[in-house]
């Protein structure tokens, strides 16, 4: 790309008057080639293209390589890097402070599939509206390469020996916990990652994306499902996916009549899924579970939108929340008036 064209792309503003630069974060300190960096870049792209205002986004993470990455995108947004496996609870409390904000949670397999499994599943079960990305590489990177709970059985690592246990499947766990949006992708497939993140942002409810993100330093072994080689060779997309924001004219030129399937999200936007060979229905939880089971048997890395239910009530629906954010309430709104004190004393004996 010549310089002037490059400048043009970088200086182009979106509908909220921001350039791509406004969505960037600090430089990454993760390893070169780390899948997480690619994902951060796609989050930047998705937020830019979705016209999100960074101040209307809050980032959350736990502990681990993945959880460091919120530093590397949306530098203007508020962010809270919490405790290992306990980002879900933190995000839940924080988002109730201002329910008009969009939450993006960044976690990893060490964070969400071990200590965090309970909080992860309970957050999913409550359907708190937020994007929940698991950057899944099957190893503990920051502590230099131990097996995580998502590592394949039989995988060998130099210092660790052979992993004797069956892996935890993040997408399966999310489904079983009644997630309203479950997707899986592969960091080596940036276009799909971006489209899924956009759909996740538009989804009203929790949107779990399990992204296989190879660890170039400790886990990029060819036989491992969490490697670039394996991912490239075994990725089985369920469909080609495009996200069409609400009120945009839907152009389906790429999609031949009769081979696409549209899913309308709650805000009116659409996920357009182009059928590949398989006839797959992402609105059926049962089909989703069966598909994941089949993928496991066949050693496929199935990617795409696995399940979505745009109409599942969210956690906010369980409360009678005011329109203005709770954190903007005044004293008059949160302290009962003085004349109630006598009534309360009368209620005691």
């Amino acid at each position: 790309m010549d310089q002037s064209l490059l400048n043009q792309v970088q200086n182009a503003v979106n509908k909220v008057g921001l350039t791509r630069n406004d969505y960037r974060g600090a430089s990454s300190t993760l390893c070169q080639g780390c899948g997480h960096n690619g994902i951060a870049a796609q989050i930047v792209a998705a937020c830019y293209e979705m016209n999100l205002v960074p101040e209307k986004v809050v980032k959350f993470s736990g502990i681990g390589c993945s959880s460091k990455s919120p530093t590397y995108f949306l530098g203007r947004s508020f962010s809270f890097n919490g405790l290992h496996g306990r980002m879900p609870s933190l995000a839940l409390g924080a988002l109730f402070a201002d329910h008009t904000l969009k939450g993006i949670g960044l976690s990893g397999d060490g964070d969400s599939a071990s200590i965090g499994l309970g909080q992860f599943k309970h957050l999913v079960r409550r359907n708190l509206p937020m994007v929940y990305i698991v950057e899944n590489n099957g190893v503990y990177g920051l502590t230099k390469g131990q097996f995580s709970a998502t590592a394949d059985k039989g995988l060998s690592l130099k210092k660790q020996g052979t992993n004797p246990y069956l892996p935890v499947d993040i997408a399966m766990e999310a489904l079983v916990a009644n997630a309203s949006f479950v997707a899986r992708s592969f960091a080596g497939d940036p276009k799909q990652v971006k489209e899924l993140i956009k759909a996740a942002i538009a989804h009203t409810g929790i949107a779990v994306i399990d992204i296989i993100s190879p660890c170039v330093t400790f886990g990029n072994h060819e036989e491992s499902m969490h490697s670039y080689t394996f991912g490239k060779e075994h990725e089985e997309p369920l469909h080609e996916i495009s996200f069409v924001p609400a009120r945009d004219e839907i152009t389906v030129e790429d999609f031949e009549e009769g081979t696409t399937r549209d899913v309308t999200l709650h805000d009116g936007s659409q996920v357009v899924l182009k059928k590949l060979e398989k006839d797959y229905d992402p609105t059926s939880r049962w089909d989703a579970l069966r598909m994941l089971e089949q993928a496991q048997e066949n050693n496929w890395l199935v990617t795409g939108l696995i399940y979505v239910n745009p109409n599942q009530p969210t956690m906010y629906d369980m409360y009678n929340l005011p329109d203005i954010p709770l954190n903007r309430m005044t004293e008059k709104q949160i302290r009962p008036p003085k004349d109630t004190m006598q009534q309360v004393n009368d209620m005691m004996f």
Partner: protein, 603 residues
């Protein structure tokens, strides 16, 4: 009765029942009736960690002097549990009264007590209630007989039942009919042979009856609590349940009718504290309530909140530990754990209410303090306060506006940025008081956002491992606590002319200390008393230590934890401190305090 002198408004009754039998209704009914007579009353529920079938005791004290501490011996025992009868009899004072069903075996009953046998089965049979309700109704028999023995106005019993059943007349009547039948039976068949009498007095004007958990919940509501995350645990559960009860009543937005407080029952305490800290960071007045085991689980997140400077209020309704310990018994055993909670250097702000009224007061104050100092505030209550019914002065409306601390919204931030030459840092100490300014998520100013973390950070919230920055930021955090005194409840000093000793105590040990000081004074041991209501300690504590040569630190734990902390912060006075710590799961009695201090003083 003969020429025996009456003992008026000064007696202790123990009701011995089987748990799950509905005796709480009967027991609190008696308590409320005595309260309505103007008599100061206090009660201790001694119950097992069990749902049904185990022995349970309710000890009710009436005292015209207003002493509220537990007493160790009974004047009257209502024995409804045959398996513990022998045990109960041992605890009766000579001349005391034993009420029991007429079908209980009474071979081993002492001769120095008065026994009244009640025809419980007969009266219940005659009551014509559903068989399933018989057990509950049978407790009303002793209410009626006891009312006759003590001379309680039966109309006050009806008022108490009416309150208990929230005015449901059918329930009130079916219970009250049994009370009346029992009262009339006693009147016709018994001869009063004991000295105990209840008489109307004016001892509780301006008082209400409440437990600490209810008071804490209400205080929090008047403090503007906006987010509660909790997980069930004895004895803290009823605090959150009281919030569930009163929030819908008191916390609808006056204009829109929408809820201004969110309550979430979390999956565990790890999540409860995470949620509460998330909400506190988001700018909500946020709290959780728990007990020791839950607090142990919460400790890692509390450390993060200390270091990342997130306001949150944590109520610890203490029970006996370590481990599962005695879940239904009281203790003050979490103090040192809380003071240093979580790994790394630290100091917590701790509030220790010493009455039910103070539970209400600290309920709202805790939020002001947490948001002012941008730090977790732990309020230490215990089972004795939390779950027992107490009399207390009426709750008072907060005497000052809410203090949200140093929060910058869009306009504030713009103004301050001009003042500060375009520089704002989340952890910059611009005022020199150690307290930085914070922005809240949702602030639309492009300079507002910052990255919160439990990892090392500089004044602009950026990650750093630079040694000098770590030390500078960490010392600045400590400064907040060194300057916190104006925001904390002051300690309460009670002096006595000619005092020769000092006493330091806190929380639910207070009623025993108050009574013990009077008893000791009669014996010639006069004392000054400092009641600790907040930590960190400041000069007022130091002055008390400096001005008394021998100071008893009275507390409900094994190791003398308050004394340990005084030793840590005022080592120069360590040799003046005498441990007066006792832990058996029961609230402290004045007698124990008197015996302990006398024993040392007489050496």
């Amino acid at each position: 009765m003969g020429n025996q002198k009456s003992i008026v408004n000064d007696f202790c009754i123990t009701f011995s029942t089987v748990n799950g039998s509905g005796s709480a209704t009967a027991n609190t009914t008696i308590m409320r009736a005595l309260f309505r007579m103007g008599i100061p009353v206090s009660a201790k529920n001694i119950f097992p960690s069990n749902i049904q079938g185990q022995p349970t005791w309710f000890t009710l004290r009436a005292n015209k002097n207003g002493y509220l501490a537990r007493v160790e011996k009974d004047d009257i025992v209502v024995a409804m549990n045959p398996t513990t009868l022998a045990h109960e009899i041992k605890f009766l004072n000579s001349g005391g009264v034993l009420l029991l069903p007429d079908d209980f075996k009474t071979d081993e009953i002492r001769e120095d007590i008065v026994v009244y046998k009640m025809p419980v089965k007969k009266l219940v049979r005659e009551a014509e209630v559903l068989p399933s309700l018989r057990d509950y109704i049978s407790n009303m028999v002793y209410v009626g007989v006891l009312a006759w023995v003590l001379g309680i106005d039966i109309e006050l019993i009806r008022q108490a039942l009416n309150f208990h059943f929230k005015g449901k007349q059918k329930a009130v009547e079916s219970n009250f009919n049994v009370v009346v039948a029992a009262f009339n039976w006693a009147h016709e068949n018994l001869e009063k042979r004991d000295p105990y009498t209840a008489e109307k007095m004016n001892g509780v004007d301006g008082y209400i009856m409440a437990d600490g958990n209810t008071a804490a919940a209400l205080g929090s509501i008047y403090g503007g609590v906006q987010f509660v995350a909790w997980y069930p645990i004895t004895p803290a559960t009823s605090l959150a349940e009281s919030l569930n009860e009163y929030v819908p009543m008191l916390r609808k937005d006056p204009d829109t009718g929408k809820d201004t407080c969110v309550i979430v029952q979390s999956e565990d305490e790890l999540a409860a504290i995470g949620m509460a800290i998330g909400a506190g960071w988001g700018g909500l007045r946020s709290m959780t309530s728990t007990s020791g085991p839950g607090l142990s689980l919460m400790s890692e997140y509390i450390g993060l909140a200390y270091f990342a400077e997130v306001p949150v209020v944590i109520w610890d309704v203490q029970r006996v530990g370590p481990s599962t310990g005695m879940p239904t018994r009281t203790a003050q055993g979490d103090l040192t754990m809380v003071n240093f909670i979580s790994h790394g250097d630290k100091q917590m702000v701790i509030l220790i209410p010493g009455s039910i009224n103070e539970h209400f007061e600290f309920g709202w104050k805790a939020f002001d303090i947490a948001e002012r100092l941008q730090t977790p505030v732990v309020v230490l209550s215990d089972l004795d306060f939390g779950m027992n019914p107490w009399i207390t002065k009426k709750f008072e409306y907060p005497d000052r506006p809410i203090d949200r601390g140093k929060v910058l919204w869009e306009e504030d931030l713009k103004k301050k940025m001009e003042e500060w030459n375009g520089k704002w840092g989340r952890y910059l100490d611009v005022d020199g008081d150690g307290i930085p300014y914070r922005t809240l998520p949702g602030n639309q100013d492009i300079h507002a956002g910052y990255f919160t973390r439990g990892t090392s950070h500089d004044e602009y919230a950026r990650y750093t491992e630079a040694p000098e920055i770590w030390e500078r930021v960490f010392d600045r955090i400590d400064k907040k606590f060194k300057k916190a005194q104006p925001f904390l409840p002051e300690q309460v000093l009670n002096k006595m002319d000619g005092a020769t000793i000092g006493i330091i105590s806190s929380g639910s040990a207070d009623p025993a200390v108050v009574e013990a000081r009077d008893i000791l004074a009669e014996k010639g041991i006069r004392s000054d008393y400092l009641r600790i209501r907040s930590l960190p300690f400041f000069n007022d504590v130091k002055e008390f230590l400096a001005s008394h040569e021998r100071i008893y630190v009275v507390e409900v734990n094994r190791d003398g934890q308050l004394r340990q902390l005084l030793n840590v912060y005022f080592p120069e006075y360590g040799s003046r401190l005498v441990k007066a710590a006792h832990l058996d799961g029961l609230p402290l009695s004045a007698q124990w305090v008197v015996d302990h201090i006398t024993r040392v003083e007489e050496v």
